[in-house]
């Protein structure tokens, strides 16, 4: 913390290095100092506090999450996304904290944390604070972390009863950044009416976005296919993706609609099966 305070933006944390080191190799970033935080094993691992939910240390490597049988059970949305994140060798080193702090708009994990209404803990020499996921991602490759802060933990609330999740993305090859990705959670009541739905998208904007209107449109009623179409339509009209070499903005918009439809159908089916 002292080092980070001293060097500010001239010092970068080295965690997994899977996003940072390529930029060093390309000479796109040339920090004066790298602060290797890999030895901080206290910041790694998944805890199950008594209050419920999960606390995932920022230095937890994807590999650990993939291999922990609890992940599939407690974090099915994350578990479903993991095989889409880069490749096995990258996941052996890459950390969830590193990914979130890097805040690539095309990255899956920020959208997942947003869909799960996570909170992120930031520490510095000055103290610590919690930042809600919806406040954390400020712009492309920009987070709310101050220049002397380090992300140490992600807190995820317990999954509500009768809920189902689904993560889907379209990528050119497995492991590539998503052209668009959708992460959604759906909570039903005993009558199969939607209590709440959260739909987050990656690569639909400069940051992951939460489609609040679309989510709200589903609440209170059974999730029929026409309600799903309506939600997908709201999303398609609301987003303003940037387009890139692999997908025009029109195609991203179109895919957002397609994936929303499919993910909502899958998530609600899973929620129903859990009833």
């Amino acid at each position: 913390m002292a080092l980070k305070a001293e060097y500010g933006d001239d010092g970068r944390f080295l965690a997994g290095g899977q996003s940072l080191v390529p930029t060093l190799n390309f000479r796109l970033t040339q920090p004066a100092v790298l602060i290797d935080i890999n030895p901080l094993t206290v910041c790694a691992g998944v805890q199950h506090p008594q209050s419920g939910g999960l606390r995932v240390g920022a230095l937890t490597r994807y590999r650990e999450l993939e291999r922990d049988p609890a992940t599939a059970q407690d974090l099915p949305l994350m578990y479903e996304a993991l095989p889409h994140i880069a490749h096995p060798q990258i996941r052996n080193r890459g950390t969830i904290g590193g990914n979130l702090a890097h805040a690539d708009p095309a990255s899956e994990m920020p959208a997942i944390i947003l869909a799960l209404a996570g909170k992120l803990r930031a520490r510095s020499r000055r103290g610590e604070r919690w930042i809600a996921a919806c406040d954390f991602f400020v712009g492309a490759l920009t987070t709310a972390l101050e220049h002397d802060e380090m992300l140490t933990e992600v807190e995820l609330p317990p999954a509500p009863p009768h809920s189902g999740t689904s993560f889907m993305e379209v990528a050119r090859r497995r492991g590539d950044f998503a052209l668009v990705g959708v992460a959604c959670t759906v909570q039903l009541d005993e009558a199969e009416r939607c209590v709440a739905a959260r739909i987050a998208l990656c690569n639909a904007a400069d940051t992951p976005i939460l489609a609040e209107d679309a989510g709200a449109s589903l609440a209170g009623e059974q999730i029929s296919s026409s309600k799903i179409d309506q939600a997908a339509d709201l999303i398609r009209r609301a987003i303003d993706p940037g387009g890139n070499v692999h997908a025009s903005k029109e195609f991203q918009r179109h895919l957002a609609g397609v994936l929303t439809r499919r993910a909502l159908a899958t998530a609600s089916e899973r929620a129903r099966r859990g009833l």
Binding site: R172, R173, D176, F177, L179, H246, A247
Partner: protein, 780 residues
């Protein structure tokens, strides 16, 4: 008697070293006092050089030297024209070749401006940032049609309208055929090929030994002999003073046979100048600009047919992007022009192309070498014709195939080897039949596809035919020697980039000389061991060098028999060879090991008869009169998601005829690799340049090479029509897999999504989900 190894799926001799990390690649060369080079490259596509100030770079600690074009003095000159234009009537050809370091002008992003030589590559790259370059940017030429306008900016100041070449070839009388036709189909096609992207980029180590007066260069080249000859000439050395070694090379695919790349010309000069070895290893980012690749052509093509689908003629006018310089002449567009004819009877043909200079990197052959473009045009035209005439796509192809009794079949126009395009042998209908059977074409169309459609799944099928002129001259050579320890050594001038030359040449020699293939040691790519030969390109290694090895091994065999006959005082017909020894038939106990014979043939003392050659050694050369024509058919079934346009290959079949097969395992590997590159070309890879000539996807994260999840399992079958042009009957196979994949994807996707009948044709490559979304806009 030893088992024949020719034709057997023998595991490779070279693998143990490669598998245990003991094989030498260029970047593994470590020499005492070695320095490292980094090149400063232009970050704009077209500019006049106002000034380059390297003073700050020169004074950085650890930097030994910084050179610009000025520093090269008289050594600086444009490279030679590697491949002159073929002898075709009425050609326009404007030769403009690349330079070692840019002087006056830069003409593409990545063109080298200066080189830093330092104690480490890290330091050299630090120093690049110290060099101050003042460039006056000029209008950038990227679009082919705009480049040809009179008012366009000029890539070369004295070449108006950026015309690098214009070539017309004709056969018969197209205009007359058009008048007779029942059906005329005209379309515009565009085909973009990409970057070869071997996993090993280029690299050079140059070592000038002033005391031995010898230059040694390790280079990832596919043409070590001509590199050596050229460097010797440039540096004012005799050829024997220069040794070029192409050690293990991590994939070539064509661009590594481009010669006198700027870095290849600069490094040896720098090494001599500094009297220290210098190494340059291309990094992946550089590879996108500094190594050649293939790019695009646009074809305005027309086919005229009779109502039963017989081709009466084809006319094609196309533009070819040659990049900023054209050292490789016209090989790529000539191949497009010739290979368009395919395995079909095309009695009348009128093809014109214009090669256009652009402010982009140089285009030279990459696996397929322009054949893809031509094959795409003909196969798509036939598909369109089939639909409009109501003929099955397989049937229309069958009706036009050159019949089996028509060989050698002369297409009359001039091919890349400067001779008339003549197909030496072939039997195309059985290949088509076999592919149809293996992919289950009939069953798919009548049953599987309708069933899938009823389930809401969009599956489609494609089939594409091609021929490939391979095994062209000029020649290759080989030296074969039986050594005193009974092992056989083979040396040849071509290099090897993974094709298994260490094994296939060993198989050829082993069978002639009667030894185990593991006792044959092959050296390729070292000009001190063998210094004649053109290199690996155009699927010619096995054919041309293989036959040279065969001739040399056969001569050694004859010498062995003659010597053994003298030794046993019997007739040569009474001898048999095998297991490393020669024995008299039917007389047990009379055998001599071939190593002993070799010793006998090289006495330390005594007199020999006049005209005797020592040892059991022979050097022979082979040069075919023309290329041998391989052929094949690919068929594929795909499933396409109609909403996301993501694609999955369900089945992929290749039926291939490359004449006599030397090693079926190695051949299968070549075909798999070629198809994988074809799949990359068809659906994943594209070099995306913007209007300023900037490559916007210059990294492996965005230039998409297919992985094990994108390349399907393939089924391969062979037919064999031996080539009459060489004693082994072999044809080349290196490029075949890559050639017909583009039209296959276009056809299968159209079929899966029912596009053509709804008015959407796929007449471009590459395709992608994004592109399919755009092309099908009118259907939504």
């Amino acid at each position: 008697m030893a088992t024949r190894s020719f034709g057997a799926p023998i595991p490779r001799n070279e693998d143990a070293r490669l598998l245990s990390g003991q094989a030498l690649f260029v970047d593994d060369v470590e020499l005492p006092g070695m320095l490292h080079a980094a090149f400063l490259r232009s970050n704009v596509a077209h500019a006049r050089i106002v000034s380059i100030d390297a003073s700050a770079a020169r004074s950085r600690s650890g930097v030994i030297a910084v050179y610009t074009a000025q520093d090269l003095g008289e050594y600086w000159s444009p490279g030679p024209l590697l491949v002159p234009p073929p002898p075709i009537q009425g050609i326009t050809f404007n030769q403009r070749t690349q330079v070692p370091l840019a002087k006056d002008k830069v003409r593409h992003v990545g063109e080298p401006l200066a080189v830093v030589i330092a104690e480490s590559r890290y330091l050299a790259e630090d120093a690049l940032g110290d060099i101050v370059v003042d460039l006056e940017q000029l209008a950038v030429v990227t679009d082919l049609e705009k480049a040809l306008e009179d008012s366009s900016a000029r890539v070369h100041d004295d070449v108006r309208s950026n015309v690098a070449a214009r070539v017309r070839q004709q056969r018969g009388n197209y205009a007359a055929a058009r008048v007779r036709a029942d059906k005329i189909i005209a379309r515009r096609f565009s085909y973009d090929h990409g970057a070869s992207s071997p996993i090993e980029t280029r690299g050079i180590v140059a070592n000038w030994d002033a005391r031995a007066n010898q230059l040694t260069v390790w280079d990832t080249t596919q043409a070590p002999v001509f590199l050596r000859n050229g460097l010797a000439g440039m540096l004012g050395l005799s050829e024997r003073q220069v040794r070029v070694i192409a050690p293990f090379v991590g994939g070539g695919f064509g661009p590594k046979i481009m010669l006198f790349y700027p870095e290849e010309v600069v490094l040896p000069w720098a090494a001599q100048n500094l009297n220290r070895p210098v190494k340059w290893i291309e990094d992946r980012l550089e590879h996108f600009f500094a190594t050649t690749h293939e790019r695009g052509q646009t074809h305005d093509a027309e086919i005229v047919l009779s109502r039963d689908g017989k081709i009466l003629g084809i006319k094609d006018v196309f533009l070819h992007d040659t990049g900023a310089y054209n050292p490789y002449g016209l090989t790529v567009p000539i191949n497009s022009q010739c290979t368009l004819l395919g395995p079909y009877v095309v009695p009348n043909y009128d093809s014109t192309f214009t090669a256009v200079f652009t402010n982009k990197p140089i285009v030279t052959p990459y696996r397929g070498a322009g054949r893809q473009h031509g094959v795409f045009v003909i196969e798509r035209l036939l598909d369109i014709a089939a639909r409009e005439l109501g003929i099955d796509p397989v049937e229309i192809r069958r009706r036009n195939l050159i019949p089996a009794d028509a060989f050698p079949y002369n297409n009359e126009i001039i091919y890349q080897d400067f001779t008339q395009l003549s197909y030496d042998s072939g039997n195309y209908e059985p290949i088509l039949d076999k592919a149809v059977e293996l992919v289950g074409y009939r069953e798919f169309v009548s049953n599987e596809q309708p069933r899938a459609r009823a389930e809401g799944r969009h599956v489609g099928i494609g089939i594409a035919c091609y021929v490939e002129g391979t095994g062209i001259g000029p020649y290759e050579g080989a030296k074969v020697q039986v050594q005193a320890n009974g092992k056989v050594s083979v040396a040849t001038g071509i290099g090897t980039q993974g094709q298994g030359h260490f094994t296939v040449f060993a198989q050829i020699a082993a069978d002639q000389i009667g030894v185990d293939v593991r006792n044959v040691d092959v050296v390729t790519g070292d000009t001190d061991q063998f210094y004649w030969g053109a290199g690996t390109f155009a699927s010619r290694g096995a054919v041309v060098a293989g036959n040279a090895v065969n001739e040399a091994a056969k001569t050694v065999r004859q010498k062995m028999l003659r010597l053994a006959a003298e030794h046993f005082e019997c007739a040569e017909e009474d001898l048999e060879i095998g297991n490393g020894e020669i024995s008299v038939v039917g007389v047990p106990g009379t055998s001599v090991r071939i190593g002993e014979l070799a010793l006998k043939a090289n006495p330390m003392r005594g007199a020999v008869r006049p005209g005797t050659e020592p040892g059991l050694e022979s050097t022979q050369y082979f040069g075919p009169p023309s290329g041998a024509t391989a052929s094949g058919v690919h068929a594929m079934i795909v499933e396409v998601d109609p909403q996301t346009f993501m694609l999955r290959v369900l089945k992929y079949v290749v039926v291939h005829d490359c004449g006599t097969i030397i090693n079926p395992l190695i051949l299968a590997g070549q075909i798999h690799g070629g198809v994988a590159q074809g799949i990359g070309n068809a659906f994943y890879e594209q070099l995306v340049f913007d209007e300023q000539g900037q490559l916007i996807n210059a990294s492996l994260a965005d230039y998409l090479l297919p992985s094990a999840l994108e390349v399907p399992r393939m089924e391969i079958a062979h037919t064999v029509t031996a080539s009459p042009l060489n004693p082994l009957g072999i044809k080349g196979a290196g490029e075949a897999g890559a050639i017909p994949v583009g039209p296959l994807f276009a056809q299968a996707i159209e079929n899966a999504l029912g596009l053509a009948e709804r008015g959407v044709e796929l007449n471009e490559i590459p395709l992608s989900p994004n592109r399919l979304f755009a092309l099908t806009a009118k259907l939504r």
